[in-house]
């Protein structure tokens, strides 16, 4: 009897404690709470701290932080048929816990549903653009476009997409190879151009130098000719001045010099007439000569 009483008191105390505990709940700084009574939502609690509720109500906790959504990297075909490997991520948050509760079971499920939406939004937006748009100032506009598109799709989930960012947008391996080849070719062309320019510069410098050499020599030759001319002129002037004193004697004197200079050989045979002046006395004796001339 006594024992049964004790047991029932204990059970009663435990029961009361249990009910009391179910009346108390805490909301963390990072959470918000939806109170549901018999399946009907009755209140949404945003303020963090200790709260009380009726034991008939159930509290559902939702994360109010900015949440991460990583999409697996996938291939997207741009408008110009170029294939791009896109690796993107989104940041989202629950703005309407009731809507979210009605449409999603939990965060994992929501993430699972958001991924294909992110992926399809990326495909749709990037697929309507040339690949070049990714490599321009329009990249951030495209990211905003993807975000807006997603927001449109997830409005019914009580979710807002705060940001979508393309982490990487690269070309697949085989396209990369094509790029490497092009880069290689461009560099080769550049190198060849530099080398050819080197040859050109070399030729240019040589040619200019050679021209300068020719000019220097020609100017020197011209100057030399002038000098030689001056020399010849001076000679002519000096000798003419001297010889003109007696042109007759000069002719004789110079002829004598010329004979002497131009007929030096011993092999020369000369045929002389004994009647020449040189032999004036040769044939006629010391008295000769008077009859001549």
């Amino acid at each position: 009897m006594n024992r049964a009483l004790g047991l029932s008191v204990a059970v009663g105390v435990l029961l009361v404690l249990g009910i009391l505990i179910s009346c108390v709940y805490t909301v963390a700084q990072t959470q918000e709470v939806l109170l549901v009574q018999f399946g009907a939502p009755v209140a949404q609690v945003d303020a963090p701290g200790l709260h009380f509720k009726s034991p008939l109500q159930r509290a559902y906790f939702f994360d109010r932080r900015l949440l991460n959504l990583d999409a697996p990297s996938e291939e997207v075909i741009a408008l110009d048929k170029k294939r791009i490997l896109v690796d993107a991520f989104a940041r989202w948050r629950i703005v309407d816990p009731l809507l979210f509760y009605q449409t999603q079971d939990n965060l994992d499920q929501a993430t699972g549903r958001l991924k294909p939406i992110l992926s399809s939004s990326i495909r749709e937006v990037l697929g309507s653009q040339d690949f070049a748009a990714m490599l321009s100032g329009r990249r951030s506009a495209l990211m905003r476009q993807i975000r807006d598109k997603m927001n449109h799709d997830v409005k019914a989930f009580g979710i807002v997409i705060a940001d979508v960012r393309i982490r990487r947008a690269d070309l697949p391996q085989e396209n990369s190879l094509a790029i490497y080849q092009r880069m290689q070719k461009e560099r080769e062309r550049e190198a060849a151009e530099y080398r050819a320019q080197g040859d050109e510069i070399n030729q240019r410098i040589r040619a200019r130098a050679e021209r300068e050499v020719t000019v220097i020599k020609a100017e020197a030759s011209s100057q030399a000719a002038i000098l030689r001319g001056q020399g010849d002129a001076e000679k002519t002037r000096i000798t003419a001045q001297a010889y003109s004193q007696d042109p007759g004697f000069f002719a004789f004197y110079r002829s004598m010099q010329a004979y002497q200079d131009s007929l030096p050989g011993s092999n020369t045979t000369v045929i002389l007439s004994p009647k020449s002046d040189f032999f004036k006395y040769f044939g006629e004796g010391p008295g000769g000569g008077s009859g001549r001339k």
């Binding site: 963390a28 700084q29 990072t30 963090p48 200790l50 932080r65 900015l66 949440l67 991520f89 490599l135 990249r139 940001d163 960012r165 393309i166 990487r168 947008a169 790029i179 490497y180 290689q184 190198a191 530099y194 080398r195 040859d199 070399n202 030729q203 240019r204 410098i205 040589r206 050679e210 050499v213 220097i216 020197a220 100057q223 030399a224 000098l227 030689r228 020399g231 001076e234 000096i238 001045q241 001297a242 004697f249 004789f252 004197y253 010099q257 004979y259 002497q260 200079d261 007929l263 030096p264 011993s266 020369t268 045979t269 000369v270 045929i271 002389l272 007439s273 004994p274 020449s276 002046d277």
Partner: protein, 392 residues
């Protein structure tokens, strides 16, 4: 033990291969510990009277321990953030503090001064033979540039917490993996910036600008998340052409060097031949000058010789004329073969055997008496003294 060494050595090894702890210390045996503690308690509490008093003592000790669990310390680098029932109540500075024990209050102590470092595009190399000390992570480091080239870039981001509350409460940072979030933002920002620039500028002149742009873009993004994170620095480590085309890029450098070499060669050639030409020119001029002086000197000499002779000739023209004539003729005729033919012996001449004429007649240069013909003349000279114009 599941990780006991399999190779029969019998030496038990830890999961990471290290041997048993030195000195043979064994993991504490909970049962024996409990038993010991119980024995201790029994010593203080008299046998048999454990009931009420014992329970009270234990309860007090437990309560004390619970209260003590609220003690925490905040390092000078940290900031204490105290939450009561999940709600933020206060910040605490460095030192020892106490908060109401769990589950009433909890405290976080995030480090708010140290810069966190994230390496992107590379990992610090564990291979000591790698001179750069960095291992490439091509997925991260290869980026498309605005001119559709690929650049291999390593960069480092430094960040710290600027607002502890925002950092703790606003963004799901995958506790302990905050770096991943910052890294994702950093990669996205870097690719966005690099995607708008040209390869050559990225590698050279735009580095500074890119760092600034990425830092600004990251900060904007993180601020829009209200993440409470401050990007203190973005540093580009390297920005190079990818390995696949590095050779070609190096060759461009070589080509530039070749170009310079060609230029230098050309200039060396020019520097060699132009002074040579100037020397030659000087030589030519000196030659000409010498000729001029020579001509003048010779003319002066000749003129004065003539004038000297003429002065004397004037005194006795007839005799001098005769003397000069005879002297000259004797000198000229002395070495010659002479044939004297009388005009009356007209028949002799046709039968006179002439020697064969020289094949090419040496051109006579009477104008240049300073160049007398050196070779013995073989020519035939016919002098008909009767026709001599002047005669002495």
């Amino acid at each position: 033990m599941p990780w006991t060494n399999q190779n029969g050595g019998g030496q038990p090894k830890g999961p990471w291969g290290q041997g048993p702890a030195p000195g043979g210390v064994r993991p504490p045996d909970f049962e024996s510990l409990l038993r010991k503690a119980w024995d201790e308690v029994r010593r203080f509490v008299p046998e048999g009277s454990l009931g009420r008093r014992g329970m009270t003592v234990i309860g007090v000790i437990a309560f004390g321990l619970w209260l003590l669990s609220g003690v925490y310390t905040v390092d000078p680098k940290e900031q204490g953030v105290v939450l009561r029932f999940g709600k933020f109540v206060e910040h605490t500075g460095s030192g020892m503090h106490w908060h109401l024990p769990w589950p009433i209050e909890t405290a976080y102590t995030p480090n708010v001064t140290d810069a966190n470092q994230i390496d992107i595009g590379y990992k610090v190399s564990t291979d000591k033979n790698n001179p750069s000390g960095a291992d490439d992570v091509p997925d991260e480091s290869y980026m498309l540039t605005g001119d559709e080239n690929i650049v291999d870039m390593h960069f480092t981001v430094y960040w710290r917490i600027k607002d502890a509350n925002a950092f703790l409460f606003n963004v799901d940072l995958n506790l302990g993996k905050q770096d991943d979030v910052v890294k994702a933002v950093a990669e996205s920002a870097m690719r966005e910036v690099v995607g708008q620039d040209h390869m050559d500028e990225i590698m050279t002149s735009d580095r500074e600008q890119i760092q600034l742009k990425v830092k600004r873009l990251m900060q904007q993004t993180l601020d829009s998340y209200k993440a409470g994170i401050l990007v203190t620095e973005v540093k580009m480590q390297k920005a190079e052409p990818p390995n696949e085309v590095r050779e070609a890029y190096l060759d461009v450098q070589k080509a530039l060097a070749d170009q310079e070499r060609k230029r230098n060669e050309g200039e060396a050639y020019a520097n060699a031949i132009i002074p040579q030409a100037r020397g030659d020119a000087a030589h030519i001029l000196q030659d000409a000058e010498a000729y001029k002086q020579q001509m003048i000197a010779e003319a002066t000499g000749e003129a004065s010789r003539f004038l000297s002779v003429y002065q004397e000739y004037k005194k006795a023209p007839q005799v001098t004329r005769q003397r000069i004539y005879l002297e000259t003729m004797s000198r000229v005729l002395a070495p010659m073969n002479k044939v004297i033919v009388d005009d009356s012996a007209k028949g002799v001449v046709p039968y006179f055997q002439l020697p064969a004429p020289p094949k090419t007649a040496a051109p006579a240069r009477p104008q240049q008496p300073q160049q007398p013909p050196q070779q013995p003349s073989n020519e035939q000279v016919t002098v008909s003294p009767g026709d001599q114009g002047g005669g002495p």
